[in-house]
């Protein structure tokens, strides 16, 4: 069963080709890594999937639905969650509110019920609060629920971002450099966390990462990008021994 199919996706900024002829097939439950040098088009790829940019060529099918041309919030409502390379929390809001906001599309009351606080409002709000607190508990953030997001230390902000992404109950989770700026000990912790949420929420995960330890440690398949082109796809062992990948990372190997 495939959850995401990208078919010949391409995107240009002005004349610059950021992603070209990108093909991807993700099955339910996959954990795939996307690696590549800086500027290879990895984050652009995430932006294309989540609808921040509209792909200029090709199609992306999520659960059989064409998502190219949909707005980011519509795509998120189809249950694709993501985090950001440079943390983008709602900095001045509380930790709890950060998570509550991401429940927007799954809250079923309409604006009249919201204005009058009647009908489904009370039940739904209670459900959101309960679910948010449950998510914070998973990430060991419960005691900080009323703290302002920007006051959290860096590592906790990263975790809160994942918690927030999980609040939209995603089936596909996109993690953009989740281990950036973490020390080896924190990376180990993060690897365990990713594995456990993957199991608990039955997630399909696509992650961008530079930390080889994490990528090689948990990803089942790896997709290598360079200058918007796909260099190689395969298991970690295959990628590690691929001469084209080594060349892209280390420069040409003198023969």
């Amino acid at each position: 069963m495939t959850i995401l199919i990208a078919n010949k996706v391409g995107h240009q900024f002005g004349g610059l080709c950021a992603v070209n002829d990108f093909n991807l097939k993700l099955h339910y439950g996959d954990l795939m890594g996307v690696i590549g040098p800086n500027g290879a088009g990895k984050t652009t790829l995430f932006n294309l999937i989540t609808g921040v940019y509209k792909a200029s060529e090709g199609s992306i099918l999520f659960k059989g639905i064409e998502i190219v041309g949909k707005k980011p919030n519509q795509i998120a409502a189809l249950r694709i969650g993501r985090t950001f390379q440079n943390i983008r929390l709602f900095r001045d809001l509380s930790v709890l509110d950060n998570v509550r906001i991401a429940h927007h599309s799954q809250t079923s009351y309409n604006v009249l019920e919201g204005l009058l606080h009647c009908g489904r409002y009370a039940r739904e709000e209670q459900r959101i609060i309960d679910n948010s607190l449950r998510l914070l508990a998973i990430f060991n953030l419960s005691h900080l629920a009323n703290e302002t997001a920007k006051n959290l230390p860096y590592g906790l902000q990263r975790r809160l971002e994942i918690a927030r992404a999980l609040a939209i109950s995603p089936e596909l989770l996109l993690l953009d450099e989740p281990a950036a700026g973490m020390n080896p000990f924190e990376i180990d912790e993060l690897m365990g966390l990713i594995q456990s949420i993957r199991k608990e929420f039955q997630l399909t995960i696509l992650l961008i990462e530079h930390q080889m330890k994490l990528v090689m440690g948990i990803c089942e398949r790896i997709h290598v990008l360079d200058f918007g082109e796909t260099l190689a796809v395969g298991s970690p062992e295959m990628i590690q021994n691929n001469p084209k990948v080594m060349e892209a990372y280390l420069g040409a190997i003198p023969s």
């Binding site: 900024f13 984050t43 932006n47 921040v52 950001f84």
Partner: protein, 295 residues
């Protein structure tokens, strides 16, 4: 020449005159925005103060045109720097909205303070002998000639300063990046003050010329003219100096055309509708460049 062509040339001349005054004020808006990304809503009132300086100098000291113009420009330049130092500088790190509101407050303060001191509209004495020349039916007055040539001269001078001098280079650098420019040894505060001084000085010149052309002045005259000049800056692409000049001449032309065809009360309506449509279609103005949002 036919009647029609003469009529249109005459209107074009009027548009040029109006556009020149707008341009001088619009430059102040656009320079401050370029360097601080802040809308200096008090700028229109600096223009008004310029007209009142001109009134004071010419009626009480009986100065002639050239010293009046120079002293007015110096006076408004000092006022501009004072406003920046006292009201805007402390807010440079504050949320942007605080600066906008402070600017609105400064504008209201200037208006009402002037009103408290000068409750009735003032008549400016004749500073220049008004000679009119007639070319094939097109009338050109000496005042028009002075306004147009002087403002074009000032604009060329400004363009030279910004594009060719060290100070201009520093201004462009600050508008590009405020965090690292000080590390390059550029005195940011000084350059910002210079920017305000130049902008306010140009507004002072505009005030003097406006007083020449329309010699009755009152404390609220700066509001509408200020907003219009601001439209010019936005139409041209705010932060872009050549854009502001282009925008000013476009708005001047549009306004003169509207008055030529419709009752004059429609002028503001058309000007602001133009602004609204333009922002929706091309938010970055005619000469501005769109900014790509990074995720």
């Amino acid at each position: 020449m036919s009647e029609g062509i003469i009529y249109w040339l005459q209107q074009a001349l009027n548009a040029l005159q109006l556009g020149s005054i707008y341009a001088l004020i619009a430059l102040g808006y656009t320079m401050v925005y370029g360097i601080l990304t802040m809308i200096n809503f008090a700028h229109g009132d600096v223009f008004m103060i310029g007209a009142f300086f001109c009134f004071l100098l010419s009626s009480t000291l009986n100065l002639t045109f050239v010293p009046t113009l120079l002293l007015t420009m110096i006076g408004t330049a000092i006022l501009g720097v004072l406003i920046e130092r006292l009201a805007y500088k402390p807010l440079r790190q504050a949320p942007r909205v605080s600066a906008i509101i402070t600017a609105l407050g400064v504008g209201m303060f200037l208006e009402n303070f002037t009103l408290a001191l000068a409750p009735y509209p003032k008549h400016i004495p004749m500073l220049l002998e008004n000679v009119t020349w007639n070319f094939y039916g097109i009338t050109l007055s000496s005042i028009q000639l002075v306004i147009i040539s002087l403002s074009l001269g000032l604009m060329l001078l400004l363009d030279y300063i910004v594009q060719r001098t060290t100070i201009g280079m520093a201004m462009r650098a600050i508008s590009w990046d405020k965090t690292f420019v000080p590390l390059m040894g550029i005195p940011v505060d000084f350059i910002i003050s210079i920017t305000f001084a130049i902008g306010a000085g140009l507004a002072g010149a505009a005030g003097t010329m406006y007083a020449l052309a329309y010699p009755v002045i009152d404390p609220y005259m700066g509001i509408m003219v200020g907003w219009k000049a601001f439209i010019c800056a936005v139409v041209g692409g705010i932060g872009n100096i050549r854009g502001a000049m282009a925008g000013a001449f476009i708005l001047g032309t549009v306004e003169i055309m509207v008055v030529a065809f419709f009752p004059s009360t429609f002028r503001d309506f058309v000007a602001f509708t133009l602004l609204m449509v333009l922002i929706m279609v091309r938010p970055y103005g005619i000469l501005g460049k769109p900014r790509i949002q990074k995720v």
